[in-house]
Symmetry: none
Subunit: 121 residues, 4 copies
Amino acid sequence: MGIDFLPDKPIYQQLIDRITGAIIRGTLQPGEKLPSVREYAVEAGVNANTMQRVYKELEQMEITETRRGQGSFVTGDEARIAMLRDEMKEQLVTSFLQNVEAFGFTTAEIVEHLQKRGDKR
Amino acid sequence: MGIDFLPDKPIYQQLIDRITGAIIRGTLQPGEKLPSVREYAVEAGVNANTMQRVYKELEQMEITETRRGQGSFVTGDEARIAMLRDEMKEQLVTSFLQNVEAFGFTTAEIVEHLQKRGDKR
Amino acid sequence: MGIDFLPDKPIYQQLIDRITGAIIRGTLQPGEKLPSVREYAVEAGVNANTMQRVYKELEQMEITETRRGQGSFVTGDEARIAMLRDEMKEQLVTSFLQNVEAFGFTTAEIVEHLQKRGDKR
Amino acid sequence: MGIDFLPDKPIYQQLIDRITGAIIRGTLQPGEKLPSVREYAVEAGVNANTMQRVYKELEQMEITETRRGQGSFVTGDEARIAMLRDEMKEQLVTSFLQNVEAFGFTTAEIVEHLQKRGDKR
DNA sequence: GTGGTCTAGACCACT
DNA sequence: GTGGTCTAGACCACG
């Protein structure tokens, strides 16, 4: 109980990423109920307001739905989830490539390094 | 005049990255003199305090040296630069892989996407 | 079975509006019996407590009467219904005009838009 | 000093509407600087966090831009503002018509009432 | 018991 | 001095 958060990224952002990841991965299924704000807050070891903000942003991203008095649910719209997956991948790769270029590496060089590292796991 | 900065990364950090990149790439040669704080601040369109901080941090990373009354210079220590290059690459790839895993993508899938994107430019 | 509710207005309020509308429109006649709380709750797909609250508020507005053991009935007082109709219209228009002004639109501009939209249906 | 807020609408929402209205109306010009979060909070008589939330949502709506350490500014993109104006009008009219129909009034009847009221001002 | 709003106040990052 | 994050805790609206 209690999640380890990185120091240089907002906690609420890390929580959003974590939940988004679980949905993309299928750990959280379409239509599945999320823990209540308060439950999750305790589990993650953060303040309930922080968790509330997380859920609110997830809803604005249209990847969860909130039903008053009933809780939050993963969207049932599987196409939306598939789209989200692509968006995340795109975004991940784009910002990575921006950095790669900013530092003057070639894509080939990086991919090589990447595969070496990826294989070891 | 004026650099385009990304909105969600500190400006001073982006400037550090930019200069570091130029050194790694060789655009800035070992021992070469950097522009003065004021010059560079004007050129980049940022506050002089911000630029001052950038130079200070570069010096702490030991990739530039400040000679009193003469300005800042890229370190002449080429081994240090080569090391820096490797550090940056390592760090870039590591944090990327962390994200890739966090979101449940496979390295293979990402590399494929990466190559598609990298080729087009 | 099951009514589509707007997400940002209380369900009980939407139900009150819906029944009030039916009475104003004459779909529900003066003196006519309303469905039982349970029946209507099932039909609308809401919690019975919610429906209970709806009926209670309708009675407080004096547009329905509850006869013990027999159920709820639309008031027989037709003058009351006519008055209700005017009240609703007044209230609707007033709050609309408040918004129109708050956002700096002119009444003429809005009416024009309104007629365009109203005609198409 | 201190704004009068309606009791049945979130304060932060009313503040968003108020600022949006000022922008649409031109009271706040494109590119103009908004008061700082703290200043406005004092002026409106609300907590600084509430105001912060308001500014954040305005930014998400892309009608203001935040520059770190410098404050918030109305977007300079006039097309965006024009679009916003249309969106607001559309939304206002749509929700109004929904209510009109829900209560069984005809558009003609309402427009007539609206013009009578609008003329008196 | 659920989510939503608001306040109060601390502390940090950035320019 | 600016915006951004986080905590703590109260109170309300809803089902």
